[in-house]
Symmetry: C2
Subunit: 448 residues, 2 copies
């Protein structure tokens, strides 16, 4: 493949060395494709297939992918053809289309803006798979990736330990708001030494369950536009939208800022990363989706550009996992086909989490405990409390030992605090959880 | 983690630069682990959990991972807890133990030899995931990987395009036997420039459906031992056992040579890579397994060595896909728990494929078609025919256009031939398939 459209659009310049070089050879897929439409005898397919009657007593003449009938029992609601055959490298076409429809449903207010930019989503092994593929495509060893200073610990595994990049951070909050100016300054600093910058935004955030207020969205986008204008360089924005939809505050942005980033500037490339772990409460399913917001002003043939990009993504997926599991993809497709039921069922969970979040905020506010500084939270699965004047790890240990209360401490750079996963604590335990934290802090500070 | 045992055992020297540096920080897992046994209030878990009654009408008080009840319909034979929660990074413990038992079942004749060497299998996203993780751990950019000259096309994507290594080959056959001496010579050549060599063996092979005869196994292992003795260097052997068990010839080795490679030399490290795609006829399931045969003579504490190795593997998996899908793992576990039924069902498929393979061999032998040189085949899913004197791609095109018969051609280096996937061609079509190939060759050679 020549990648003329990627080159001409300037996108190639955003790629890592691997992203520039990698390519999925089309040879075998060319022959598989022709076989599908032209062949009467098809000896190209590397799966065992034949008449059902050959392997199943009472089976018919129809050609099936051979499988173990007793294995089907685990997938009672699916047919064997929905379960056992390989899925295409980039995902089931019907699921890709349905996920696109679902993203547009979520961003319905900005549909006219988003739709012309949006690529057909590509399925990956969970949000981790989406981050890994994006990182491989865009980020080189020793390159700086910009993130707020509160981020999911696995970013270090993916971006630093695996890719060899370096995460540089800005403080998440400016007072009780998302730190738009700090983000812009860090990006401009980074662009002094790099021809492009990659920004990762996880909103709602893990470990800080915070989503910026609606009024912050426009300034945030404007700040990013200023960054690329002022630097005359380019920006790739990886939107880790794992917790999209888990919002407990009417004043917060209710959905991904992918909508506003689409077509905000020809040198800003937003990439929306979704996961079913939280989105569909299917942690063990391991499907994620990558959707690009390609600026409409790129002066190349749109279909060619997208097929070249899909070749790059296909090469990365084929060379790491080949493809993603079919029965999970089928199950998600079925859930999207009855979206009203799916969203109604999910709303019950969101309502439970909203009650817990609001109760936890209320209980933390009631405490008279100066070393405990809960950061603002209004979304997602967690709240994070900075701890002043004592070690977060010592606190977590004491909380566990004396109060049988488990939290995850972080001591890293300037950050010293505990993550409280209200997502997994029943409402009835939340007042005691808050009180135990305060009591443990009192124990430790009185001792000193 | 200090990796003292890996260092002292010499295994670290076999690792790539990434393999040497990568590490999975234990912080969060330490706290999650303590929480499991010590906590009464557990605010560490990043999944939404609570009493079933909170999200399901008529649900009870028991704590569950929240899920979408209508999604469960696709997994009719599984409970929600078997479907929706995350699986551990390295796989479900019960499945890892059961897969170990299954490998030992397959290698039952060599159990006493294998068991002391064998690690607990680690679950990966299919055989591709297993190859990718192994490649990342052991192979550096620009390093030579040795393979027979007939190999699965995706090796180029994984090893060359993704990792940046270089595949160097030896001719698969010496006459009608596996080319043991050619393999040894290529390894010795490679070891002149490298401190270790990585060999990939895929037996039964894709695209050549060949498994060495039983009488070849001992000389093959002996040749590898001679290589490490003569060079005083080390060898990592990646056994791509995707097609293990699909054997149609009583004189062929009936199972993986992992058995013989275990403990054959302290500087030979065999790694067995399994997949459920073929093994359990579950292509779309995307689970594979990696099992190391650690020499018993390594003078380090065995449990420590294995836990350090698991840390490295965990870091690679966590930073690419996080973990593998739970419902698929559960389904495989259930299949292994009723192994007699599973293997009986699979035997019906093996019998079908054996009949096809034997018929295809017979039909090809009957043809009077000198340019067509079928390579020996006795196992797996494919046969491969070298083509002399005309382009394999032209032949495939003509076969498709005139005879509606689809095969996959290869023209690469010295190889010019067609892969015939008898696995997906019903028995009744096989005589015509063979005849069409001969007729197409006759058409093209008469024209010239």
């Amino acid at each position: 493949m020549e990648f003329d459209a990627l080159n001409k659009s300037g996108m190639t310049n955003l790629f890592s060395a691997l992203g520039k070089s990698i390519e999925l050879p089309q040879g075998i897929f060319y022959w598989l494709g022709r076989a599908k439409t032209e062949a009467e005898i098809n000896a190209t397919i590397g799966s065992a297939k034949g008449p059902a009657s050959e392997i199943i007593d009472g089976g018919g003449d129809e050609t099936i992918t051979f499988y173990l009938p007793s294995m089907q029992e685990s997938f009672g609601g699916l047919t064997s053809e929905e379960t056992f055959p390989y899925a295409p490298i980039l995902g089931l076409p019907e699921l890709r289309a349905a996920w696109k429809g679902y993203v547009l449903h979520k961003l319905a207010d900005a549909r006219d803006r988003v739709e012309p930019c949006m690529t057909l989503p590509v399925m990956t092994p969970g949000i981790t798979g989406a981050l890994h593929v994006a990182a491989k495509l865009f980020i080189d060893r020793d390159e700086v990736v910009v993130s707020p200073d509160r981020f999911w610990g696995n970013y270090r595994n993916i971006l630093e330990r695996n890719i060899g990049a370096r995460i540089e951070t800005f403080p998440f909050f400016d007072g009780d708001r998302f730190n738009v100016q700090g983000m812009a300054r860090k990006l401009l600093d980074t662009l002094q030494d790099q021809h492009k910058a990659v920004l990762v935004l996880n909103l709602p955030n893990n470990p800080v369950g915070y989503l910026p207020r609606q009024e912050t969205v426009a300034p945030l986008v404007e700040a990013l536009v200023n960054v690329v204008e002022e630097s005359s360089k380019s920006l790739v924005v990886l939107l880790d939208d794992s917790y999209e939809g888990y919002v407990y505050d009417p004043e917060a942005a209710q959905r991904s800022i992918f909508a506003e980033l689409c077509d905000c500037h020809r040198r800003i490339l937003p990439i929306k990363l979704d996961g079913i772990s939280k989105e569909m409460l299917f942690y063990g399913g391991r499907i994620g989706a990558m959707t690009f917001g390609l600026p409409t002003s790129l002066e190349v043939d749109r279909a060619t550009l997208e097929s070249e990009l899909e070749n790059k993504l296909g090469a990365l997926i084929r060379s790491t996992v080949s493809n993603s599991p079919r029965p999970i993809q089928t199950a998600i497709l079925k859930a999207l086909q009855k979206l009203d039921i799916t969203l109604a069922e999910r709303q019950r969970v969101i309502d439970v989490l909203a009650r817990r979040a609001n109760l936890l905020r209320h209980e933390l506010e009631k405490l008279d405990c100066p070393p405990l500084k809960p950061l603002p939270f209004n979304a997602g699965f967690f709240c994070f409390c900075d701890i002043e004047g004592l070690s977060a790890e010592k606190l977590a240990d004491h909380l566990m030992t004396k109060y049988k209360t488990a939290v995850v401490p972080t001591e890293s750079g300037k950050i010293n605090g505990i993550r409280v996963a209200f997502c997994s604590v029943p409402e009835g335990q939340i007042p005691l959880l808050a009180q135990n934290i305060a009591d443990a802090i009192a124990d430790l500070t009185q001792k000193e």
